[in-house]
Symmetry: C2
Subunit: 417 residues, 2 copies
Amino acid sequence: MMHVSIQEKARVVKEASRVLYTCTSARKNSLLRAINTRIRSSITGILAANADDLARAREHRLSNVLIDRLTLDEKRIGQMIQGVRDVIALPDPVGRVYERVMRPNGLRVEKMRVPLGAIGIIYEARPNVTVDAAALCLKSGNAVLLRGGSEAIRTNTTLVNIITMALHDVGLPPGCVAFIDTTDREAVLTMLTQDRFLDVVIPRGSRQLIRFIQEHSSVPVIAHGEGNCHIFVDRSADLGTAEEIVFNAKVQRPSVCNAAEKLLVHKRIARQFLPRVTARLRQAGVEIRGDEGTLAIVPDAVPAGETDWEKEYLDLIIAVKVVDNLEHAIEHINRYGSHHSDAILTGTKSSGERFLREVDSAAVYVNASTRFTDGYEFGLGAEIGISTQKLHARGPMGLVELTSSKFVVHGTGQTRP
Amino acid sequence: MMHVSIQEKARVVKEASRVLYTCTSARKNSLLRAINTRIRSSITGILAANADDLARAREHRLSNVLIDRLTLDEKRIGQMIQGVRDVIALPDPVGRVYERVMRPNGLRVEKMRVPLGAIGIIYEARPNVTVDAAALCLKSGNAVLLRGGSEAIRTNTTLVNIITMALHDVGLPPGCVAFIDTTDREAVLTMLTQDRFLDVVIPRGSRQLIRFIQEHSSVPVIAHGEGNCHIFVDRSADLGTAEEIVFNAKVQRPSVCNAAEKLLVHKRIARQFLPRVTARLRQAGVEIRGDEGTLAIVPDAVPAGETDWEKEYLDLIIAVKVVDNLEHAIEHINRYGSHHSDAILTGTKSSGERFLREVDSAAVYVNASTRFTDGYEFGLGAEIGISTQKLHARGPMGLVELTSSKFVVHGTGQTRP
């Protein structure tokens, strides 16, 4: 079944993207300020809509985690507003000339940042994404077609209505931010075939959702995959620092994609390091799984199976492996990892450099926690997500990653001989 | 039907990409020199294989254009060798650090260029692509799975065997350049589902081929779309220069994607400009199609239909439209164009700048022929093709566009609070 209304929405978003394409930074910022004004005066309405969604969620017995994600309160709305303010403060990448070459025939060839155009965003649960994603897309000159999860349908509809009013306030077309309020999968399928109108689709959500989208989309996708992140403790590592970093990367927030899932330990320091780090992790409720080398030192660890090495637990579980050397660690990470974020803890400069060069992940670290893989932490100011694919953008994506480029050529009458 | 052998080839290419990932520039260049040495000593064999393909092509009554594309001779093999030499001379983008930021917590966050990994290239007819594409992929540290057209199967197989020998000469695994010698469409379909092993697919060929690939691929695609290129002659243009540029863009090589297909003329100079430019084009055998405004001035032009404005002729045909002003021209180009290459010819600086900013195409020109949209002409040194999509790469793609990036983070024990 083809959702004609969704095709029409995609067309309208594309039309609106033409207007945003040439919007000045000043105008885009005044739109974002208008959105914040409208949010501030609509808090009661937002909370009422959210209460509706929450009542339905409880009726459908959604998990506590999902209900927490879905919940808005004044504090979270305040964070939403602060998020938009942060985006206002960011420099506008559009129009920036970032390469320039003079050709022998006198042509001046430049590369200029331009908006991507029309962006589709498919997301689940968290209604704050509606406002965050819209703000980032608008600031980078893009129109956006949003498709949120069915759990948050009332809240999202209210938030999009607020944005529509703000667009009206500053005289921009409503198609700059459109919303798909049909929650069936057919709606997503129709969205994924709108390559005539949409320039990119960015899915945020479960592995299953992203896989489904990659398989069915004729629109280019920027996928946000999982994080099976490793920490390798080299023989020359400072073991006190290593213990702090491993603990932080595993325990500080285990449910996120940049949390550590695997610990590789150089065999020369395993006997010294493993007892103390596993004891510390266990105090925080972490289950230790181990390979043979680990079990020889921590006999009460759970034996790790072959599937453990590829798994993203997103939970208080860590699998530990004793490795022979640096090469062995790099080889293991490149083979079993998800190429998200991986760290070496070492006192040897050349080992650190080799690890950084040879591990093929979106973010590679020496002597720091993997938990820093994040747009704010990397200095992008904000993020629309973390790409684990290699095309277009890899790792945390900020405003620049929501732009494309064009070649701008200045001639004086040149023809091709 | 699933081609197990193709899945296996993709896996082997991925394995080989791990070796190329850390290859030095010196080693990659010595591989490219070995390829040239092997080509030079195999000219007889290449020509014999090509003669086989040509005989079959004549049997199957392929068009003269296709047969010309398929044909190799000593001169064209010489160009192939020169192409590889050009790639050797290019700087290696891999390992280059191109962004660096110090964070308040002392983390040094850098962005480094890295190979994409394993690239699938699907192409038609021209066997020189086998060597050109392999050279560009290898120099940028990527392994490549090639799938050429059935017409060139013998020639391509011979060329890949030569590359395999060169890989052996320098001690690199044969999987660095693999070739699919099954020519059915099922083979392509199997290739397009190898997202576990392939990082990107680049199709080069007909609109139908590219469309088919976009619709069926779960591997990210960089599409090389068509070029419905425009030239807008503004009221302040130097009409002598304009005549030369329009003639060059339409006639110099009408079968390529950066040739002009549409001429937009400002109404204030249409009476003066159209008679001379259409007369000149007709002398070269160009058919003139026109809108009402054009027909009023060039009454014997063919009336243009609505479909003409979206068409890429790739032939000695041009459709001409008289427009009211600059906005009208920009609006027409953004609506009907293919966002490939579009030019304004003008004597007014502000009009040129507005055109460059507002026309949303991969390459925008002021006072030059659209025929310059090309990797060599833009100073990239070589090109793997011209992207008309907005993700990852837009316009001519050189070595840098065959790379991805990673965040490289240097810490001194930082954990996330």
